[in-house]
Subunit: 336 residues, 2 copies
Amino acid sequence: MPASHRAWYFVERPDGEPTLDCFDLRETDRPTPTFGELLVRVDYLSVDPYMRGRMRDSASYADPWGLGDVLEGGVVGEVVESESPEYEAGDLVTGRGTWSDYAVVDADDVAPVDPDVAAPPAYLGVLGMPGRTAYFGLLDVAEPRPGDTVAVSGGAGAVGSTVGQIATLNGCHVVGFAGTDEKTEWLTADLGFDAAVNYATTDDYRAALDEVAPGGVDVYFDNVGGPITDAVFAKLNLDARVAVCGQIAHYNDEGVPTGPRKLPQLIAPRARVEGLLVSDYATRFGPAREQLETWVANGDIDHRETVVEGLENAPEAFLGLFSGDNIGKQVVKVGE
Amino acid sequence: MPASHRAWYFVERPDGEPTLDCFDLRETDRPTPTFGELLVRVDYLSVDPYMRGRMRDSASYADPWGLGDVLEGGVVGEVVESESPEYEAGDLVTGRGTWSDYAVVDADDVAPVDPDVAAPPAYLGVLGMPGRTAYFGLLDVAEPRPGDTVAVSGGAGAVGSTVGQIATLNGCHVVGFAGTDEKTEWLTADLGFDAAVNYATTDDYRAALDEVAPGGVDVYFDNVGGPITDAVFAKLNLDARVAVCGQIAHYNDEGVPTGPRKLPQLIAPRARVEGLLVSDYATRFGPAREQLETWVANGDIDHRETVVEGLENAPEAFLGLFSGDNIGKQVVKVGE
């Protein structure tokens, strides 16, 4: 009989803002790895905004979570049982697991964690999916050029904070939007952003942009949507590029949100707007991971994780993403 | 003393829908060409939706018309006086002129008209700026692939009708939107569109699209904006491309129009949306003109012009663009 552990189940689809009622923590049998799989003791669990989309019962880029299923998410942890020749018990790895004390992960989908480069939670942030999203979204989709003014919404999030720093490394003038003074201070004082706007204490985003980006915006990396995005679109320069990575302001909307029409604003600047998903770049994850590890190891890219303690608090950590509780990557400390 | 002629002056900036009060027809001296210029007897004058933008007192891609100035526009006509070694009296040319009986045009900006390829008014449509807009907007911006489903709004306009036919020549499944049965009939019976939707007699554009584009839309060439565009965005396929050429539904809006937000819809399909201006392709106008002339001469591309008789009726012809009075290119017959 397998040992037991705790796991979070998805039990109710939300209508609008998700609540704790959507989640149920149960004591259950630990899963058993089959060939090619690893059983991992979950040390850290990732909660991410895109998961809101998986709560909907409609096909999108990530399959919807099934009602009654264990919730899925990225994890970092130690291999306790290996059914793969590639890994052995004691290895520290990161991969796609579940919201639980122990998780089965696919060995093909796993990457090693090197604690000499960064503490393990960073492998869910700057060295994980969010870091790669920033890397490919900025460099491949938005194509920044030295001297460009780059605006980033969600600037203090896991993706945005990395985007801004990569843009800085590429000789851009970087402007971030974030929702607290602590966040904007982090962006400008620690991460090298040229300017940051606290959208929570600013009334007129266009006036704020006139100040921090007087020459207009060449690249906009959008994690948020809503009125920040509306303001940036009014400032797009000739040949501007917009990478649409996330729209967290709208994830809890039921029905289609409305706002200022943007297509008429694209013609005069011949602007390009493009949606992005990091999974499209899977064949290039290796080199991206190496580059990001180098930048982090060298101190060229700084990072931060907001850690919520205890698997039992994972839903709160997830819900906190929508009120911007996190600075940098939001993770949940589970075991270790 | 130079001979006189009639010319339309721009005398009032419109607030919302333009009216006849914006225009004033005056008897005035004919202009005199200086070195490098030609005096042309205007046979046909072009009225185009983009001119609405020039009525605003704000910088955009085309300079605003000055109050009290003669209105500018494309013309076809016969050279009556040449100050350029390139052309002589009697040559039939097309270029940028004015809303008047005679116009001075820059010889560098002029192209010859070959009545053996098509009747002169076609040089303001399929063989002029609208045809080149269709050519570069579709092939360079939207990049259609054989088998793609291509949707075109303003399908029976000068640009849209050409876009659809070039897409057909490239092996695409082409669906047009137009506002009368006569127009949709023209698209499917004469131009080879696979399907056409009369938006004026259709309530549910998404349902209509489900029928004519059941596999979704790979390329959308947008001349219109508004609810047609809203419906198409809900049907964008993976890797869809949207060329934003015009937004005539919004040209008379004062303030920023609102509508369903589109950025959230771009992420799952990784769609690309790009504004376009034909002037960016000026260095390639020569080969494009040749290709379009070949297609027209071969009968591969059909075209139609709606002719309003008399310079005195030019403002009505322009205003008619906003109610869709034209089938194909709207021109004004002035002289000849």
